[in-house]
């Protein structure tokens, strides 16, 4: 995200037990990161149907992030 002109929208699927928790911890520690991520909480990354990823791209996501 070095170029100011690009503003990609990233869709994230975050596992409730690890990555979502880590994202909370990042907040508690006030780590700053680019505001391009929109997240969907799932109970496990095993829940992610490949169709979700395709649908995310179809909806204009520049990237999909699966965090587990």
């Amino acid at each position: 995200m070095t170029e100011q002109t690009t503003n990609p929208r990233i869709l994230g699927f975050l596992c409730n037990w690890c990555c979502y928790a880590a994202a909370d911890a990042a907040g508690v520690s006030r780590y700053q990161y680019p505001p391009n991520l929109r997240t969907i909480r799932v109970m496990c990354t095993g829940r992610i149907d490949p169709a979700f990823i395709l649908r995310g791209f179809a909806q204009g996501a520049a990237g999909i992030f699966a965090g587990g």
Partner: protein, 951 residues
């Protein structure tokens, strides 16, 4: 930290224990609560007060490596999540000035008028878990601590490695903030050291040193790390494997040496150390980490006299081998490091065991003190979707960055949203009342709260929904604090846009959320205990004391297991006494049915509802019976290993070569005679021969037999050849005693193994003595091998119960640290040698812990199921059984319908809601409660609909 949420735990923090009167079942405990000066009910933990507080205070939580303020919270996840004022440094409490925090606090939580409060608690039992104390600075000073800033304790180093630590996880020298290139760890600082009166081994330092070294390597692969040690005591389950990894993969150097001193040397530190051969060496380092031991808590003496129990010689709690958690005062139990130095899994195991013992003691009082909440009847949400959106300011935490009114208004414009509002603190008690009021007023049937994390606050709002008569699943939470305002603090516009998007996605999901039933499964309040050794008998007895029936299944013809083969414990207690006591109690108890000569043939069902076939041999005939039970405790034990390789070679057969167990039997009884000379060989078959792991008990066993021989005949010559003497904990005292009585301990290295040979009736051993630095040959009267322990029948049983075993065939627990006696299949527990090799005392504790854990579903009478489980639509299912093979929890089974078709069905009691089945089902027949395809898809679509950004 669930403890903060349970209605049945009252946390009295900032409290001093003043006295204990009465008897078991009816104690009165006095405590004094020191004032926090902050009203915990009002404090929202926003942190504003700490920013304004003008005074500095050394941060104890960061081991004094950072600075905090008198008004603070120890760490962000602290429970209670309330700040407090440290009176030692507060300007107002010390000098009557300042009070700047009072107007700063928006929720008016600061109250300097608070006074200490004394309370008398009526309790039936007491569990002492005060933890451990710190090694004195005087001892640390021997290694330059306090004189040179780059000599740190391992606890300080732990904080340096931690992302929440003083340098945000970067390891830097305290002196000049440079990154260290060479780090040394010195083991046994304040342990195994009579110089500071700590003769015992602290049992945890070897492990944490390796861990810290590995983590430091992960941070900076260039750093060179050397660990200086006497014996690496990684005897726990899978610990040796991690130690090998540290050496082979991480390149951490292990040097057996004693460090004489640490001196400044230019801008570095110079270590002087002596190796086994007696030669001295010097080595420069940038940083030296002292692996400090665990001491008894500082106020142990005061605690013991206040509560009326005794301490051992090191000021830890005094206990006995066969009743490890009982203090000398009945009704007062001990758990954790106060019992003796120990690691987390053992502490956690002891805690569960102590809880179970207290529960047995107070059986008649069970349920009398607990609180259960009642809720109004649940309303039918109806067809029309009516969503209410509540956006939280969280003081200035969200409101200071995100345009909260704008986000709320934006939500108001969305489909099906009939009400929207903002609130200052949506988690406060009055906000909950407001939400309930709005639910009634606007007939809301879906609630969306945009605030902090659902991981911490979803249960609170779900509770509010239940109070308002709504199903708790009609709730969706948006995280615009932890994952938005806090991490985009400098980009208010982008943060606001993100909040709008997240709210839009949540509302889109909320339109499709449905009430889900609260499912419960009834439990058969009986247990099946497999194995009639000390573990099985202890577990069955503890369950019986708590009032639960159990079936004790023993393969052989009699109870006792390995107790039958033991004479005495290392501490001198007679095994036969324990065996007599346990088996008599088991046979006498009405709630225990003993089935000897019996084996488990088949198991069906799930937690709460197992049905097992047990086969009993009766002479040549065998009969089978079906048993219904709710839980299973595996205590199938282990046995002495018969090695196929000893010291890297084929074992030598000779009448003069015996195992330690056989030697113990020879030495038992009043008429036993000591052999004139014995050589004992440790790790003969373990740690690299045919067993990869350390069997934990062999070193103690060797010391025990050596002491017995010396007691029978002080002139007898005893030589112990070892790799590392792992006499951890208080057993270290007996190791020292053996040396004092003339037992000779000689270490051997794996690249220069001793060689055993036999000729005629003679047995001979050749080995290298690193102290004499020469080859030695001995022809002892007896050669005793420490051969290790293997689990009994875990391979077969693991298939029957679908429970995984580790690489060494021991059962793999659900969570190594935090759930050490539970297995991955719900309702199945493990204890004793089937879990890993361990001495009797630890087996007893583990069995008590397994019984306590197993009693939980039995006490409840039903198993509650989170609504987020999977559900199979059997109309759509084609019976391919892909899901049953993928499920990591065996929570989906194939059933036959009336029309003979095979269909998948979720075992709700076992389902953990991961959703692997749903994402792989080829016909989309499986849906996840709260995470349906439709709900997630609508979130994805809402993600794409980035509409009107012009407000």
């Amino acid at each position: 930290m669930e403890a903060g949420r349970s209605p049945n735990i009252e946390i009295l923090s900032n409290a001093d224990f003043l006295g204990l009167e009465g008897k078991p079942g009816a104690f009165t405990a006095k405590v004094r609560l020191r004032p926090r000066y902050i009203n915990a009910d009002k404090c929202t933990a926003c942190g504003l007060c700490t920013r304004y507080c003008p005074r500095h205070l050394v941060d104890d939580y960061n081991e004094g490596l950072a600075i905090t303020r008198p008004i603070h919270i120890d760490y962000p996840q602290a429970v209670p999540a309330s700040y407090f004022i440290d009176p030692r440094a507060c300007l107002h409490l010390q000098h009557g000035t300042c009070q700047i925090c009072v107007p700063v606090c928006r929720s008016k939580a600061i109250d300097f008028g608070q006074q200490p409060e004394e309370r008398a608690l009526q309790v039936g039992a007491v569990i002492m878990s005060p933890g451990f104390g710190r090694i004195s600075e005087e001892t640390l000073a021997k290694f330059g601590f306090g004189k040179h800033p780059d000599v740190v304790t391992s606890i300080e180093f732990e904080r340096l490695l931690n992302p929440s630590g003083p340098f945000k996880g970067e390891v830097r020298c305290i002196s000049d903030k440079r990154h260290p290139h060479r780090i040394a760890f010195i083991q046994c600082v304040g342990s195994r050291d009579l110089g500071c009166d700590n003769g015992y081994c602290s049992s945890v330092c070897c492990m944490y040193a390796i861990k810290e070294a590995m983590v430091a390597k992960e941070h900076d692969p260039e750093v060179e790390i050397t660990i200086y040690y006497m014996d690496m005591r990684t005897q726990g389950k899978d610990f040796d494997a991690a130690r090998r990894r540290a050496e082979e993969q991480f390149g951490i150097k292990f040097v057996r040496a004693r460090v004489a001193d640490v001196m400044p040397w230019n801008d570095q530190l110079r270590l002087t150390y002596a190796t086994l051969s007696g030669s001295h060496h010097f080595e420069p380092f940038d940083m030296v980490v002292l692996s400090v031991g665990l001491e008894a808590p500082k106020d142990a003496k005061g605690l013991a006299s206040t509560a009326g129990f005794e301490l051992n010689q090191y000021d830890f709690c005094k206990t006995s081998t066969f009743a490890p958690l009982a203090t000398t005062r009945p009704g007062v139990l001990v758990a954790g490091a106060f019992h003796g130095p120990k690691d987390i899994p053992e502490s956690v195991t002891q805690s569960s065991a102590a809880a179970g013992l207290a529960a047995g003691l107070l059986r008649t009082q069970r349920g009398q003190g607990t609180v259960t909440k009642s809720y109004p009847a649940e309303q039918n949400p109806g067809e029309e979707v009516r969503i209410g959106v509540f956006v939280c300011h969280c003081g200035i935490n969200i409101g200071g960055v995100v345009d909260v009114p704008g986000v709320a208004k934006y939500a108001g414009g969305m489909e099906d949203v009939v009400y929207y509002t903002e609130s200052l603190y949506s988690c406060s008690q009055d906000a909950q009342e407001a939400i309930k009021e709005k639910i009634r007023q606007h007939n809301l049937n879906r609630v969306v709260v945009a605030a902090c994390s659902p991981r911490t606050h979803e249960p609170l709002f779900q509770e509010t929904l239940k109070d308002a008569g709504l199903n708790r699943c009609l709730f969706e939470m948006v995280n615009i604090r932890d994952q938005c305002s806090w991490v985009h603090a400098n980009e208010p516009e982008a943060a606001t846009a993100k909040s709008r998007d997240l709210v839009r996605m949540a509302v889109a999901k909320a339109r499709h959320i449905k009430p889900l039933p609260e499912q419960t499964v009834p439990v058969t309040p009986k247990a099946l205990v497999l194995g009639g050794g000390v573990a099985g008998m202890t577990a069955a007895l503890n369950l019986a004391e708590q009032g639960f029936e159990s079936f004790l299944i023993e393969k052989s013809g009699q109870l006792g297991g390995n107790l039958l083969k033991l004479d005495r414990t290392l501490q001198g207690d007679k095994a036969a006494d324990l065996l007599k006591e346990l088996s008599a109690a088991v046979k006498k108890h009405k709630l225990i049915t003993v089935l000897t000569n019996s084996e488990l043939a088949e198991v069906n069902g799930f937690v709460g509802n197992f049905t097992s076939m047990v086969r009993t041999a009766n002479g040549k005939k065998a009969s089978e019976q079906s048993i219904s039970h709710g839980v299973i405790i595996i205590a199938t034990g282990g046995r002495e290993h018969v090695p196929a390789r000893v010291l890297g070679k084929e074992p030598v057969a000779s009448k003069k070569i015996v195992t330690q167990q056989a030697l113990e039997q020879q030495l038992a009884g009043g008429k036993a005679k000591a052999p004139a000379s014995v050589v004992m060989v440790q790790c003969a078959g373990s740690r690299g021969d045919d067993l990869a792991y350390c069997s934990k008990v062999c070193c103690n066993h060797a010391v025990k037999n050596a002491l017995r021989i010396k007691a029978l005949d002080p002139a007898s010559q005893v030589v112990v050849l070892y790799r590392e003497m792992r006499t951890y904990g208080f057993a270290e005292d007996l190791y020292r005693q053996a040396r004092e009585q003339g037992v000779i301990f000689i270490p051997y290295a794996t690249d220069r193994m001793p060689e055993i040979s036999a000729k005629g009736s003679k047995v001979r051993i050749d080995f290298y003595d690193p102290i004499l630095q020469d080859q030695v040959t001995m022809e002892p009267e007896l050669l005793a091998l420490s051969v290790g322990i293997v689990p009994e029948g875990t391979k077969e049983l693991s298939k029957l119960l679908k429970i995984p075993v580790n690489a060494d065939d021991f059962y793999l627990e659900a969570h190594v640290k935090l759930r050490p006696v539970e297995l991955p299949v719900s309702g199945v527990y493990v204890c004793g040698l089937a879990h890993s090799p361990k001495p009797i005392e630890e087996t007893i504790v583990q069995a008590q812990a397994a019984a306590a854990k197993a009693a939980i579903p039995l006490v409840k009478g039903h198993v509650e199921v989170e609504p987020t489980v999977s559900h199979v639509d059997q109309e759509i299912c084609i019976g391919c059984s892909l899901c049953t093979s993928l499920c990591p929890y065996q929570a989906i089974q194939m059933v036959q319908l009336e029309n003979k078709q095979r269909r998948a069905q979720t075992i709700v009691a076992s389902c953990k809601g991961c959703g692997i089945c749903a994402s792989h089902c080829p016909t989309f027949a499986i849906s996840m409660g709260g995470f349906t395809d439709q709900q997630i898809s609508s979130q994805i679509e809402a993600f794409g609909r980035e509409e009107n950004r012009n407000d």
